[in-house]
């Protein structure tokens, strides 16, 4: 249950996460910064997405460790997650969260889903040059029409995250 515990820990540190998309992007970004999440991500409509993570969150809701609320936004339903009392007790049996994760979550929490979608998609292509990354984002996200300013902000944000990231061996 260690991988489940990491998700509960993450949401506990965030206190509340609004939007499944935001949760997906935050965990993907944390993973790219070498925090030890095991979920596999693939590129989907809104950037990197993990079916495993979706299922794990469902399991945690069913176990009663996470509370899930949803708000009908008309065109779609938005979900909110926080840790239940039982989830808090479950966390006491789990190992401590990785160092620095708290600060990382704080940095991401204040950003919009759209911005995190851009950041996570740029990170998905981080094996490419900056120009190629931007080109790829414009191809896979052609409808979102990210501006030059948004791209610059996203690269700045990635730089800030990298300064805080767990060093690799």
């Amino acid at each position: 249950m260690q991988e489940h515990a990491k998700i509960v820990q993450f949401i506990s540190l965030a206190e509340e996460v609004t939007g499944r998309k935001k949760l997906q992007k935050m965990i993907y970004i944390a993973k790219k910064m070498h925090f030890p999440f095991a979920e596999k991500f693939e590129l989907h409509m809104y950037g990197p997405y993990s079916e495993e993570l979706t299922l794990r969150v469902e399991e945690l809701c069913e176990m009663g460790f996470l509370n899930e609320q949803f708000v009908d936004k008309g065109a779609y339903v938005q979900y909110k997650y926080n840790v239940s009392e039982e989830g808090g007790r479950f966390l006491q049996t789990a190992p401590e969260a990785a160092d620095r994760l708290d600060g990382f979550i704080g940095m991401m929490q204040v950003k919009s889903s759209r911005f995190l979608e851009l950041v996570s998609t740029l990170l998905y292509f981080d094996h490419l040059s900056k120009e190629e990354q931007i080109e790829k984002v414009h191809i896979v996200k052609n409808k979102l029409k990210f501006s030059e300013q948004e791209m610059d902000d996203a690269f700045d944000f990635i730089y800030q995250l990298e300064q805080q990231a767990i060093p690799t061996a």
Binding site: M1, E3, H4, G19, R20, K21, Q24, A38, K40, E42, L43, H44, M45, Y46, Y49, E51, E52, T54, L55, R56, E58, E59, C61, E62, M63, G64, F65, Y76, V77, Q78, Y79, E86, F90, T93, F125, K136, I139, V140, N142
Partner: protein, 432 residues
């Protein structure tokens, strides 16, 4: 006429139990099938450890890859050709992407990737773009052609319709594996009317959609997916074999890292243990190589590696009990302590397996539009997500059903329970 348009003098056919025949006319397709990297897929089973439960499930990723190619060939040649939404220039790229979409799968890939933190999709890209026979064939079409094929598989290709044929909630990949897995496992579910789906599939700007008159055929497909998920892919005994396989790899890795001297040095694994592997090391691995090591490891000095390998080779799998983490999460800690007291390493012999550990899914309408859902094309031209029109799909999609099991070596505990009261205590606790 360039290589891109070169046809074989005579059409080649592969006899296939699912599609009857797989037709090849394009020279490049024929040449890719003949490469060593594609032939390697013959030595990797489509369903990993499932053959230990459904003995017919020995079919390979080679067969599945040809099947996906054939479905896509039929969609583009028989269904889309001539329609204004379909660009004929995309035909060859689409066919090659279908054929090569699973090229990077390794032996028992889910377990292998978990233990060594790898992703077969990266290897697919690496084989298509690297110094390989596949790349050499694709480059004969054009220097950009390998990258385009890799982009379709990586879902970064600009034409989303092409991507959706290989990777979406109703793609050729799923349509082939559901039918093929049903055929080879011998189960009666998993079958659906693919002919009907192919007839009513239409190209649109972003993805392939289905005419509303084909809704019932799609319902059948979604039901098949649901039933195969729970009856075959998440079969508890097959999961037991997967658990043991994973633990064998973990144990071998741990032993290597602690300087253990193997009777037979694991040459093929060494670069993965060290994380110094090259593409060629990966290509050299297949299920024959892996099971040969497992066979040799049954004679290892390390009792855990020897026992786990013997369990896998001789199908002496772990037993399981239902596990409810909501009420029993403290139980695993108590059991782990008992296992340790009894001299059984819980890291290898007490395992919780959850539905989220499985690399298969069932249909979801796409919450917050995260995943592109299956759209019906209504007579008015409007696109409507299928669960909004179908009560059957609505009743099974997006509904939670999760499952957790606790695996343990019951045979070992039963055998020793008379001599060791801790074994009896563990059994009592596990059986509730």
């Amino acid at each position: 006429m360039g290589y891109k348009n070169e046809k074989l003098a005579e059409e080649k056919v592969f006899k296939d139990p699912v599609h009857r025949y797989i037709h090849v006319r394009d020279k490049v397709v024929w040449d890719v099938i003949g490469t060593r990297e594609f032939q390697r897929l013959r030595r990797i089973r489509q369903l990993g450890t499932t053959y230990l439960v459904f003995h017919g499930a020995e079919h390979s990723r080679f067969q599945h890859s040809l099947g996906v190619y054939e479905i896509v060939r039929r969609i583009v040649d028989d269904g889309f050709s001539g329609r204004p939404e379909w660009d004929e220039d995309e035909r060859l790229i689409t066919l090659l992407a279908a054929l090569l979409h699973d090229l990077g799968h390794g032996p028992f890939s889910h377990a292998f990737e978990n233990v060594f933190d790898l992703d077969h999709e990266n290897f697919t890209q690496a084989i298509i773009l690297g110094d390989t026979e596949v790349n050499a064939v694709l480059r004969q079409v054009s220097s950009e052609f390998p990258q385009k094929v890799a982009d379709v598989i990586g879902k970064t290709y600009p034409d989303k319709l092409v991507v959706s044929l290989i990777s979406s909630q109703i793609d050729a990949d799923r349509m082939d594996y559901l039918q093929r897995d049903a055929y080879y496992t011998g189960v009666s579910y998993g079958h659906f009317d693919m002919e009907r789906i192919l007839r009513v599939m239409r190209p649109s700007e972003e993805q392939a959609v289905v005419k509303s008159s084909g809704m019932h055929a799609v319902e059948d497909y979604i039901m098949s997916r649901y039933q195969m998920y729970w009856q075959v892919y998440f079969h508890p005994v097959s999961r037991s074999a997967e658990v043991i396989l994973t633990k064998i790899l973990h144990r071998a890795k741990k032993l290597y890292e602690t300087g253990y001297i193997f009777n037979q040095h694991p040459v093929h694994f060494q670069s993965f243990f060290d994380r110094t592997f090259l593409l060629e090391d990966y290509i050299a691995l297949d299920e024959g190589v892996m099971t040969t090591y497992f066979q040799m490891w049954t004679k290892e000095k390390d009792p855990i590696l020897a026992d786990l390998s013997s369990r896998f080779i001789n199908r002496r799998l772990f037993q399981y009990v239902e596990f409810n983490p909501a009420t029993e999460y403290t139980k695993t800690g108590e059991l782990s302590a008992l296992f340790e007291q009894a001299g059984i390493d819980p890291d290898y012999y007490l395992v919780v397996d959850s539905s989220s550990d499985l690399p298969y899914d069932f249909y979801r309408p796409g919450e917050e539009n995260e995943r592109l859902p299956i759209f019906l094309e209504m007579p008015t031209g409007e696109l409507r997500e299928i669960s909004r029109s179908s009560d059957i799909v609505d009743s099974i999609s997006g509904k939670r059903r999760t499952d957790h099991k606790l695996y343990f070596p019951e045979d070992l505990l039963e055998k020793g329970k008379d001599e060791n009261p801790l074994y009896r205590q563990i059994l009592h606790m596990l059986r509730g």
